[in-house]
Symmetry: C2
């Protein structure tokens, strides 16, 4: 005999609930106000009619809410709920056999008068059972109504009149309000949704080395001097300004310019070689200023609608206080020295990695969490995490859960450029956004293939891509050789393919393109190792284009998501076309990019008129939001031509033909 708690009469099966990451081991991600669309296979033995619902609640709520699901096809059901609060939601699926609806379906098909009479008796019993449940719910009016109706089924009217009433919608609706759920099945697992602030899904990042914000002569910039620059960044339309580490920089084995092993006097060192006697991860580099200056920077940024993102790089220079105070957190070598970072035969002697296999790992974890808390308490809500893939996965899962429990609006960007499954795991376990391979995806095939991977599979549920055309570590050959058209092309791609994107400036808008040496992806005279001066007022700066693109992104909800991406065929591999649109079709954005920075390219696009809800019998307008030009297009196939000297890309807003009741026509 089965166990005592098991009830073999619970017959309904609920399977394959989607979305779900690794069968519910990890949460899916949404932002406030988003709809969570759930599907499930739900079925039962035999032919009974089922009812099915989603149960959901915010973690802080006690009671489950419920929303009905409807059948699609092949025993698949769907439904949706909207997440309205930041934090964690739970959801699962419930289903039960609906005896009354099954009875009603059969009653409608019965032809024999005696069968119908008998069925009406059964129906009256089912309604009276509903009445009892209404009484238990203290809904006395409904109970009374059900009692009356159960009697109506057995009164002295004709069989046909009574059947007609028994099949009425008003009766069905009232009975449905008091379902018999004693044998309901509930899926054994509760799934989770992490609900973030809108910026988790839609953000525009600008990376800035604060020590390089000056005008000539060359000198070490300060946080205070960054403040005027913030206004320019905000004016370009960015909403996150991200600073590489602002902490004291080590002196031992400090790197010189262009990553030289020899340091010249005055070389500032790499900001990622964190810590000296002035402090470590909770200190500000004295030459940048003080904690008070930092607070002032954050306040000024916030007033401009900018959030400041800090770079959290868990590694130490040999001079970091941790090395002395917590020597057990490092790897020691047989000669009594600390193990520096290395990838033999390469050595990074200015950096000591932490030893996460230390017996003292709990104290280490707590201290690292405290680094985040320290900056959160000083107004930081966005963190770009450096190389998370070289620290244990369980550490990040714990840390992000702990931090978000207390500060649910914090954003963590994972800077892991490593193997795909490692990057995916980091996103699963809690990172809000992730760097991607975008920088190395340059051909139409590469972009299409990669974006479909990110926006179509299970990955879309947990990894929010953040696309960067450049970073201080990556100057791709495409930018080195393509000139301005290459920068435009990559900018448009990043900003329209992904709802989260960023640039490393002013190197980007000033089109810095010299590699350290041929074949290298490193910048020549990289800011990582020296202070640079930038003339952001240069007339060839891309800042105007960037400003326009950020404005287009802000004005068009279709560009503020990534799961809505769809590619359309163009008969030329140098032109890529893709669209994003809002579910209500009020905002349809179709982007064309010439991937060839050297030549004019042309071709024919084929748009799926049905999917775009375009009337095939009328022309429609394509309004280029970059240069305000308008084209009148007809039907599915249209010609496109992009000349690098004129325009490298179109970001079209589609205006469809609408006919009014008076037969006036206009475009919407």
């Amino acid at each position: 005999m089965p166990e005592r708690t098991f009830d073999g009469r619970k017959r309904v099966v609920i399977e394959k609930i989607t979305p779900a990451v690794d069968n519910g081991r990890f949460p899916i991600k949404r932002i406030v106000g988003e709809k969570v669309e759930i599907e499930a296979d739900v079925f039962v033995d035999g032919h009974d009619i089922l009812r099915c619902g989603i149960q959901f609640r915010h973690q802080n709520e006690k009671d489950w809410r419920e929303v009905a699901m409807t059948t699609l096809y092949n025993d698949r059901w769907n439904g949706a709920f909207i997440v309205t609060e930041i934090g964690i939601y739970l959801y699962t699926v419930v289903a039960w056999v609906d005896d009354f609806e099954s009875w009603r379906r059969d009653l409608a098909k019965r032809t024999n008068i005696e069968d119908i009479a008998l069925a009406l008796q059964t129906g009256a019993m089912l309604i009276r059972a509903g009445e009892e449940r209404a009484v238990a719910a203290r809904h006395n009016n409904d109970a009374q109504q059900l009692r009356l109706w159960s009697e109506t089924l057995l009164d002295d009217k004709s069989i046909e009149e009574r059947r007609s009433f028994a099949l009425s919608d008003e009766l069905a609706q009232l009975v449905a309000a008091y379902p018999d759920r004693t044998l309901a099945s509930r899926h054994e697992k509760e799934f989770t949704v992490v609900v973030d602030d809108k910026q988790a899904l839609f953000s525009s990042w600008y990376e800035l080395f604060p020590r390089s914000v000056n005008t000539p002569p060359l000198r070490h910039g300060t946080l205070k001097e960054c403040i005027p620059r913030l206004a320019e960044i905000a004016a370009m339309g960015f909403d996150i300004v991200y600073l590489p580490p602002i902490h004291p920089i080590g002196h031992t084995n400090r790197k010189g310019r262009n990553n030289s092993l020899i340091t010249e006097p005055g070389d500032p060192g790499s900001p990622w070689a964190i810590g000296d006697k002035a402090g470590g991860h909770k200190s500000v580099h004295p030459e940048l200023g003080s904690l008070d200056d930092f607070r002032e920077l954050v306040e000024n940024a916030n007033n401009l609608g900018l959030r400041v993102a800090l770079d959290i790089a868990f590694q130490c220079s040999p001079d970091h206080p941790y090395v002395r105070e917590h020597s057990q957190w490092f790897h020691w070598r047989p000669d009594g020295t600390v193990q520096y970072a290395e990838n033999p035969p390469k050595k990074y002697q200015d950096i000591y990695p932490l030893n996460f296999e230390t017996d003292d790992w709990k104290a280490l974890w707590e201290e690292l969490k405290n680094v985040f808390e320290f900056w959160i308490e000083r107004g930081v809500r966005v963190f770009r995490v450096d190389n998370p893939h070289t620290k244990p996965f369980p550490f990040w899962e714990w840390l992000i859960r702990e931090i978000k429990h207390q500060y649910p609006d914090v954003i963590f960007l994972s800077e892991a450029f490593t193997r795909p499954k490692v990057m995916y795991r980091l996103a699963k376990l809690g990172f809000t956004q992730s760097y991607t391979y975008f920088t190395w995806r340059n051909t139409k095939w590469e972009i299409t293939h990669y974006l479909n991977e990110l926006t179509r599979g299970e990955v879309r549920e947990y990894l929010r891509p953040n696309f960067w055309p450049n970073t201080p570590d990556i100057l791709h050959a495409y930018l080195q050789f393509g000139g301005k058209p290459a920068f435009v092309s990559r900018l448009v791609l990043a900003a329209t393919l992904s709802s989260n994107y960023g640039i490393y400036g002013p190197a980007f808008e000033l089109m810095e393109a010299q590699p350290r040496e041929p074949g290298s992806e490193e910048y020549l005279d990289s800011e990582k190792y020296e202070i640079r001066l930038w003339d952001t007022d240069r007339p060839d700066s891309l800042s105007q284009l960037i400003t326009r693109i950020n404005q287009v992104r802000r004005e068009n909800p279709a560009l503020q998501q990534y799961r809505n991406l769809q590619f359309f065929p163009v008969d030329n591999d140098q032109i890529i076309c893709y669209a994003k649109w809002s579910k209500d079709y009020t905002d349809i954005i179709i982007t064309f990019v010439n991937l060839d920075p050297y030549h004019t390219q042309s071709g024919w696009v084929e748009l799926p008129l049905d999917e775009l809800a375009i009337d095939p019998h009328h022309p429609y307008q394509m309004h280029d939001l970059l240069n305000d030009e308008r084209y009148l297009w007809n039907g599915a196939n249209n010609y496109i031509e992009l000349n690098p000297q004129i325009s490298q890309a179109h970001i079209f807003k589609l205006l469809r033909h609408v006919r009014t009741e008076h037969d006036f026509e206009y475009y919407l």
Copy 2:
């Protein structure tokens, strides 16, 4: 801080283990001697080298066995183990960081002499740690050897000599024998394999109404009279003879010939209307004989290498003893009568379904289990379960688990012709084999699509198809209109696409093709409602062809599985081509079937020479096992022609060209 039992230093991640059904909720299925090939994503933060293994054991074993896994690509690992005993096996994956191998990889890349000297010290420490583990394992010789070798790394030989030894395989192998697994990860789930007898995967069924085994004059056959027929069935090469229900048949509302509501005197009724005063599911119909006769039948069958399969149909005629003795197991209507089976407006008044929502469900389950036990004790090991989809899923999961716990060799065939997910669920929860939609898949597109669904996706792991060209319930129009070529085509398809197949005879070999009425799939004068006489000696019987096909199946291991199926393109939609081969290429079977029963069809096939390990520079033989003809083929593209008047199909065995060391050539 994390919970006390949690160790944050266990860094290795193990994900996406395959095969697994619904993430391990249900077992996969294998037969004794089969290899279980496991894959998993396994990775760790950073760059450490991992080791990875499958842990597995038979449920009755206490200790886990372990077999190493190797890397494939993109952090995917694979390995395999062989299941040698019937019953349930468990498996999961373990992995750990291999410090010694990581150290060794780095040592090989080091160039600086001081770095190497220091690394040798580290290596000596790692080897001594291995020595300690060897001591703990009481492997004193190995421990001593490791101690010596750790000293060798630090002796007075040159650095290069010592490095060379440190990199030696003999050292690596001995250290690897004593891995440090204190921080090993083990996947949180243990997966299960149900291991069956070979017949679960490879069986040939023959369905027979025992009451119709006589020669004229027409009279009710007996179990005793079946015995001579068994020899003929065995001679045709079948190994399971399946009997529709052999129990007493109800009298109340008994169905007449051709499913008539009016019964004529002498009408025997449907065997599926089970039970009368002589007994129910544990009784033999008096006209068929006694329990002793049944035992004799089973013994005779077994002596011929035939197993007897019984039909378990959990439903009752109104005269079944259960109705009186366990009235609580039925649905009662308000007029005090028992609810018969119905699908309004259709009624099946000769059958009462059981009420699985009865409060007395536990007693009902026990009794139904006892029905199986009753026949198992009388030598039955194979059951064809009638309409399992109209009984609750939890019931079957419990029943099959209970029965197989005691009798692990029992085979359950699920006769569920219903919605796909319901059929799949029944297979998942334990049915050994399943009827399929094969009967209704007749075109090349349908067959290819459906077989790929069965043999490529997760379904292949839990659903063993059993293909039937006909059943007493299904005479497909293809057979009604196609004449002998249609019967041949469907027979060859069933017997070569699926390793389990069956026919309902003698209707099949005598090519019975008359429907009850035009458009019906029911047989005219169906044995379900009357006794039939069959002249199995008729010269046009397909019995010789059937005999040959069953022999080919027995002689060719490639045809004794289904997951090895692969389709090849033919440029004619009326000719289908597919292959199955053994993993060692010693048995390659390529089948061609003309799906058009009316016309000669021809076309070109394209064989993937690489996959079939065919030398493109030499001809190869195609030996038709049906008619013993041989064709010499060359290269990938070859011509095929099938004339319904001559041969409707080829079952080719591919004989490849082999060159000996003396340059003699022959075909293997």
